[in-house]
Symmetry: C2
């Protein structure tokens, strides 16, 4: 399967068009300004000035440049354009004679270039290469592409030809994705060869920095890595590149491996939100079913990387389950990462908040706040959010033109224009399941498949393998579908310690949660009753556009710690979409509840 590009698919209104508007009006500006204040953009000038560039700052600005390129291709913005221009010029002007670029290493410790596996040089390079692809493809600006070609030549020379670097494969994967994007854009074999080198050498060297390194995925050759381990963002960038390579090379072994990795994650290591990474200390995957509610990690970047992986798997296999998980991650794990105001972000996304615990752990290593911030020391997530929402239209449709096949994967209002088909989608997702689809197949009979969301209880006559299937010439007929989301109970696997005896609630793709702001009662004493009379409301006013009201019981704050009796009182518990929480100050928050 193939994606359409961002010239072909444009959002036309509704939920994610609003998010893209916020991205253009607020998010990109705010992220730029925080990055400028902290010296990240100035660092590109490679002058030895305070503050000194951190080893991974280039990746932060590169993601912003990539996002700016997408944005400028759909909407001119003089301020974004000027900032984009200055940043690109700075990077190009300061590329080393030999092709190398890193605003930390070339300025502060050139003698240590390519000596420390975990110091993000190839990760930074990869993000600049991704920005280069975006600029070339969407702005026809090939300056970073030329920069990238020269830089890749240098990396290839050092890692593949001379092999004189202190490590063989990147400690923070990402460049593998970027190299395959460069290859897909330019078809130059060298990019694919270098990506293949980094993938294939992983787990095969005796190098002390990488041998059997489970945390950073070099414990085994990639074709033997069938369970997801270690740092979640790194792992998922790696798996994304592996899936892409499997597609490009029609590598069945690699295809089996990435499918197995996906199954391991969704069956053992994923929060209900699609968040991944249960272990804050490793920022990584824990063992199967070990998904603690308090101080979960769930980095926003890990959710985004997981969405990238799901996209590549959709392209590779066409199975609808990958798009189901994409939808879960999109509406919950990713969307919760940014404030409704568009300018604040979670690095780690809490799955449950008990404020005294958060306060006790404040400032301690591997603990995270219960509020979004504008910028972090490690500020990878904000610009990742920026570029993700710009790239989102790419994930709505898939096509296989050679087999006249078109797939509607996500229910996001958009217009598609291509030689193959033109189409319009109008969707009320996520607050209703109504979708109207109009297609022109230019006189050709096509196989059109619409993903039926895993949460829909509707049955359709033309359902096959989770898709509604149409095989016809489309001449602008309107398909009107309704997947009818309902309030549903969700149960976790019996082995999930903190959730196996509880219930969570979803509405369509939305995971719901209860927040202190709506529920001024001892939230952790509440138990949920029969939800058949639960009420739902749809409110236009942000930040909680949707709410579910559930019959529940709670207990007052009694005196004393332990008692032989309890008095529960009836109440109505208000649930809101998880993505909308923490927009009204710091609050207790829960997803999982006991039932009476």
């Amino acid at each position: 399967m193939e994606n359409f590009n961002l010239f072909q698919v444009k959002l036309t209104g509704g939920f994610f068009a609003e998010q893209q508007k916020l991205n253009a009006d607020v998010t990109l500006h705010s992220v730029y300004e925080r990055f400028a204040e902290t010296g990240r953009f100035k660092a590109l000038k490679c002058k030895n000035e305070e503050p000194h560039a951190h080893i991974y700052w280039d990746s932060d600005v590169a993601k912003w440049i990539e996002a700016a390129a997408y944005l400028l291709s759909r909407k001119e913005d003089a301020s974004i354009r000027a900032r984009y221009e200055e940043a690109v010029c700075d990077i190009i002007a300061n590329q080393c004679e030999n092709g190398y670029f890193n605003s930390h290493f070339q300025v502060y410790e050139p003698e240590n270039v390519f000596t420390r596996r975990h110091d993000h040089e190839l990760y930074c390079a990869g993000h600049i290469f991704e920005a280069a692809v975006a600029a070339s493809e969407y702005l026809h600006d090939d300056r970073l592409l030329a920069f990238s070609e020269k830089y890749v030549d240098y990396i290839y020379e050092r890692f593949v030809v001379k092999q004189d670097t202190f490590f063989t494969t990147p400690g923070h994967e990402e460049i593998e994705i970027a190299l395959l994007r460069l290859y897909t854009l330019t078809k130059k074999e060298k990019y694919k060869e270098l990506a293949a080198f980094f993938l294939d050498m992983r787990g095969k060297t005796e190098n002390a920095q990488e041998k059997k390194d489970v945390r950073f995925q070099s414990h085994l050759p990639v074709r033997e890595q069938t369970t997801a381990v270690g740092h979640a963002v790194r792992a998922l960038y790696l798996y994304t590149a592996m899936a892409d390579m499997a597609q490009i090379e029609k590598d069945e072994t690699l295809k089996n491996v990435v499918e197995s990795l996906f199954e391991d994650i969704v069956n053992h290591k994923m929060y209900i939100t699609g968040g991944v990474g249960a272990d804050p200390l490793k920022e990584g995957f824990a063992s199967p079913f070990d998904l603690p509610l308090h101080n979960a990690y769930c980095e926003t970047c890990a959710a985004i990387a997981f969405a990238f992986f799901c996209d590549k798997l959709s392209l590779l296999s066409g199975d609808k389950k990958y798009a189901d998980i994409f939808e879960r991650v999109l509406y919950n794990g990713i969307l919760a990462g940014i404030s409704r105001s568009g300018d604040k972000f979670f690095y780690a996304n809490p799955i449950e908040v008990y404020l005294p615990r958060i306060q006790r752990n404040a400032g301690r290593p591997h603990s995270f706040p219960a509020k979004r911030l504008q910028v972090f020391n490690t500020s990878c997530c904000p610009p990742n959010v920026c570029r993700f929402f710009e790239r989102l239209p790419q994930y709505v449709w898939y096509s296989d033109v050679s087999n006249s096949t078109l797939v509607l994967s996500q229910f996001i209002s958009c217009a598609l224009h291509s030689e193959f088909v033109d189409a319009d989608v109008v969707s009320d997702f996520p607050y209703s399941g109504k979708v109207r689809i109009k297609i022109h197949s230019h006189g050709q009979k096509i196989l059109f498949k619409v993903r039926k969301p895993e949460w829909s209880d509707e049955t359709f006559d033309n359902e096959k393998d989770g898709y509604l299937v149409y095989e016809q010439v489309f001449d602008g007929e309107e398909l009107i579908l309704d997947f009818k989301p309902t309030l549903k109970k969700v149960y976790a696997n019996a082995q999930v310690a903190e959730a196996a005896d509880k219930v969570a609630f979803t509405f369509g793709p939305l995971v719901l949660c209860a927040e202190g702001a709506d529920n001024p009662l001892p939230l952790f004493s509440t138990r949920i009753g029969d939800i058949k009379d639960a009420k739902l409301t749809f409110r236009a006013d942000a930040p909680t556009p949707f709410a579910a009201y559930l019959p529940a019981r709670y207990r007052e704050n009694e005196n004393g710690l332990y008692a032989y009796t309890k008095t529960e009182k009836d109440c109505t518990l208000t649930l809101i979409p998880y993505f909308a929480w923490a927009n009204r100050g710091e609050n207790d928050m829960r997803i999982w509840f006991a039932e009476y």
Copy 2:
């Protein structure tokens, strides 16, 4: 009120006589051997040999010496006697000319004596002083007492007279307890004065090592410390000394303060087991109601210190609530600290165990195993358990001879012989509530009060303020009481995040738990039903002499992480006493359960 001493009260059979037998036959020997192997006893010889003495090793051996003194006074044991003798001789032989003794500092860094507040010198001194009191009182061996007098003179000279030390009050409290024990034994004012100095200077100096140090209780003057904060063992040793001082000096302000500290702990900061210290990183108290189940701290020493504090409060006020908490701590928090085999110990006592979590955190800072070990690097708990079970008879009775008052506080089979009264108690605690009490009051009319346990639903005609009250001459009459323990549900305060929507179970003084060894099913999926038909069994065979069988539902390990339906199956959940858990390998363990 007053305690009787260990000559006056001796255990005569039953549950804790068995524990004392284990202490004599196994525990003291095992602890000695582990300490000898690790160099702790050799270090007393103060030769500069490997392994170098740790700054707090003296306290470990001193607690063992104290325990040995009690043991030898009730039961000769040639091996214990020889080991006791050698250790005492080594300490005395190596006391410095000026009175100082510390097997680390005097050998390895004499220049740093009394420079670092947190390096345990006064804590070690205190434990030797307690050993000295035990040896003098119970073995009529005054060698350590003479050592202590000389050492106290030196401490007094440096801290009180010259004030040339780098800190004013101990970073790890304990010496305050010891000094008051020395005072009580010898009536020498200097001991009390030094204890008063350490108590009164706390929170009052500008010294950088102690000013506003919340973690180590010098944030405020002690008479303003009304909430329990910081390191739990240190805090409770301090509070114990404060309560003792309040009694000795009839200090009403201090009495109010320690009563307030007790209320803060039992109403806000105590696990159902009587364990305290919810914060593993600080080994200390967390904020009110913040009592996480996973990776709780609950050091065995903190439970023992809490029992000491309860004893002092009982002496101070006579209110029965302190003995209720003593009982809770004794049967749960303390008793769980030692294996049924008598030779293995918990340092931190888990409140819930989910093995994958334990395995994930193994070896990480501030994480603890789900199994008892024979010895730790910081091995304060094992010898503390040794001395505690030897001292236990002291806590059974209280008396106020001047008011002809006798109180039976704990239901432990024992014989009491004193000029005031003779008495015998035969108790089946904790597996039944039956108690037979025979008293001779030597012709005198006495006020005899028997604590009614807080868990007893029985009513008695002569009940007053939680005591059964008898006012008469006792001439060997037998009182036969039955407090009839039943299986009871316990609910946590609505603000306790992980327990407020759950239930726990007790039987008399015993907190119950479910362990994987008895329950080979997904333990975290279980929910408890109506317990009115629950069955109880009493089995003579260790390690689980008691079990409760509860109707419950569980779920099989399904495939996949999340599902819209669940299938619960009926089962019988086996609960055992919390103190008996973890004697059959490493297991999942739970105290708190959801109810259906």
